[in-house]
Symmetry: C2
Subunit: 343 residues, 2 copies
């Protein structure tokens, strides 16, 4: 186990390669992740060809598969049954994929994971319906697994995610959005599934309620940190080097941490600027730069990253009770990576 950890450090020193504990976890759980990927492909099959076509398009495009990895790690760390974890990790990824498909329809997104979104290629209609299929398929598979605890955790998470998305929609373009409301939205739409993905590990392993609570708290707080960092990264110029666009949230008028911090101490003229750009979405080319200058003035990005770190610390605290070893080290490194990644 020590070796796996060493490998990870070695790889981190490869030129141009940032230390990536997702890869580290992936190496520790390599055979398991391959089993999960095989299951995902097998279980999204259907006699209706458009379903595997669209699902493969999105799922094969990759993504970090961080949620199923968390389920695997949280099962393995408590010596749980890994074949069961494979099945339930694939359910977690199906629920995530279903929400991505619907998100992209709702946001009218054009790009995801460096390629055109499914809604752009296959149409909104197919994205809505294949999302529904993946969601239903996840519940079929959980039912076949037979744990009412797992069903409870993942059906609760699914309802909370939908509530978070609706709340985000209700608050979009509303410059009165408070930091508390923002945290409520991201806790629901992002952190709830991270928490659920982690919590089912100790459940599968029969590790008792304290372990389940600890892993849920780890996932929840890391999920919040992850989303705050994600929202800050959306404004960071370094993204462009990675082929990503800067300021997507700005153009959509999404009220995220940097904007909320900039608004807290804004003067009347700045408020008019935010009102025009975020609420009425009347934007010219130069506005994104103005926004970034205001972030500089009010230290918005730094404050957002500090907030992310507070939740990261809580995640680390929750993790401290888990059995020590390479897996826990990887899960710990994942917190920092989540906050400090560049994309």
């Amino acid at each position: 186990m020590k070796n796996a950890h060493k490998n990870q450090t070695d790889r981190a020193s490869e030129p141009g390669k940032a230390q990536n504990p997702v890869d580290g976890l992936g190496r520790l759980l390599d055979a398991d992740m391959r089993a999960v990927n095989a299951l995902i492909l097998k279980r999204m099959d259907s006699d209706v060809p458009l379903i595997p076509q669209l699902a493969t398009y999105l799922i094969a495009a990759g993504g970090k598969r961080i949620r199923p990895l968390l389920t695997l790690a949280a099962t393995q760390i408590y010596n749980g049954d890994m074949p069961r974890a494979h099945g339930l990790a694939s359910c977690v990824e199906f629920i995530h994929t279903a929400t991505l498909l619907h998100d992209d329809v709702v946001d009218e997104s054009l790009e995801r994971r460096g390629q055109e979104t499914a809604n752009l290629v296959f149409g909104n209609q197919a994205s809505v319906l294949v999302g529904d299929f993946l969601f239903a398929r996840a519940f079929q598979l959980m039912t076949a697994d037979g744990s009412l605890d797992v069903l409870r955790i993942l059906s609760n998470a699914s309802a909370v995610i939908a509530e978070g998305e609706v709340m985000q929609l209700s608050l979009a373009n509303n410059i009165e959005t408070s930091l508390e409301q923002y945290l409520e939205v991201i806790t629901a739409k992002t952190a709830a599934l991270f928490a659920a993905a982690c919590e089912i590990g100790p459940i599968i392993a029969g590790a008792g309620p304290e372990a389940a609570r600890a892993m849920a708290a780890y996932g929840l707080n890391m999920g919040i940190a992850f989303q705050i960092a994600d929202d800050a990264l959306d404004y960071m110029a370094a993204r462009e080097k990675l082929g990503k666009t800067v300021g997507d949230d700005f153009r959509e008028g999404k009220m995220t941490a940097p904007v909320i911090y900039a608004l807290q101490d804004s003067d009347a003229e700045e408020r008019i600027f935010w009102e025009r750009c975020m609420a009425r979405r009347e934007q010219s080319e130069a506005d994104l730069q103005t926004a970034q200058a205001l972030f500089e003035k009010y230290d918005s990005i730094t404050r957002a990253m500090t907030l992310a770190r507070i939740y990261g610390d809580r995640a680390a605290e929750a993790l401290a009770g888990a059995p020590a070893g390479a897996l826990r080290d990887c899960l710990h490194n994942l917190i920092d990576y989540t906050i400090n990644r560049e994309y």
Copy 2:
């Protein structure tokens, strides 16, 4: 019990009131349906106001609540636990409502149940997300009920519905669609939930696998008959008197039974007409009348209704083994009503 049945006949003779066994069932199960309606309102509540707003808009608009009624009747007829049936009947209605919300987004519908669609009033985004919420909420409630059999039946039905909707989307505007493909689509998108709504009754009642199979077959075949009749009704002028539009499916280029029958024996010129109207959707005002003249020529509507009756007979056959009484009589009358209704 005899009285309830008599009441129904009395009411049927009210002037301008067609005999309606949905009302008949509703009277037999009046207290139960009120309990279900109260549960529906209670359980679609959320701290995010847009969710109950939108859900109430659609659910309060009415509809016949035929699916939860079927669950209640199929439980009661086998002397099952009615409070459990109330909860699961509300889950069935939530799944149905979620599919309606997503359907209307996919079809870009403007009107449902005599009022503007939710997507028109609240936007596509809210309709997609509140649909997701209702679907997740249904699974939360089923999990709380705790029957893995019920979860299996309703998660299977949900996946099959989504597959049917995707298949319908794949076949839309394709004049090569066969009657077999059409039947496959409607069995999945409509009949599967009728079947599931009925099947969970004997499951709740612990009435054994034969009763479950019989009620599932009743629901499935009635669901197929219902949809064939629905698709024929879409072209019937009598609708207009009821404030409904005629030819919605025609304008969308949906390949339903009447069109498929008209195409089977069509000559070259007629084929060009259908190709233009259904596949390319290039339509002028007079085209709907031409379509209806072709239905007349090829007896399309009559043939569709005959097909509906074949499935109706199968439903009646499946029902024959259920305990005799006023409930079974109502369920039997429901088959004819499903086929002969005027709206």
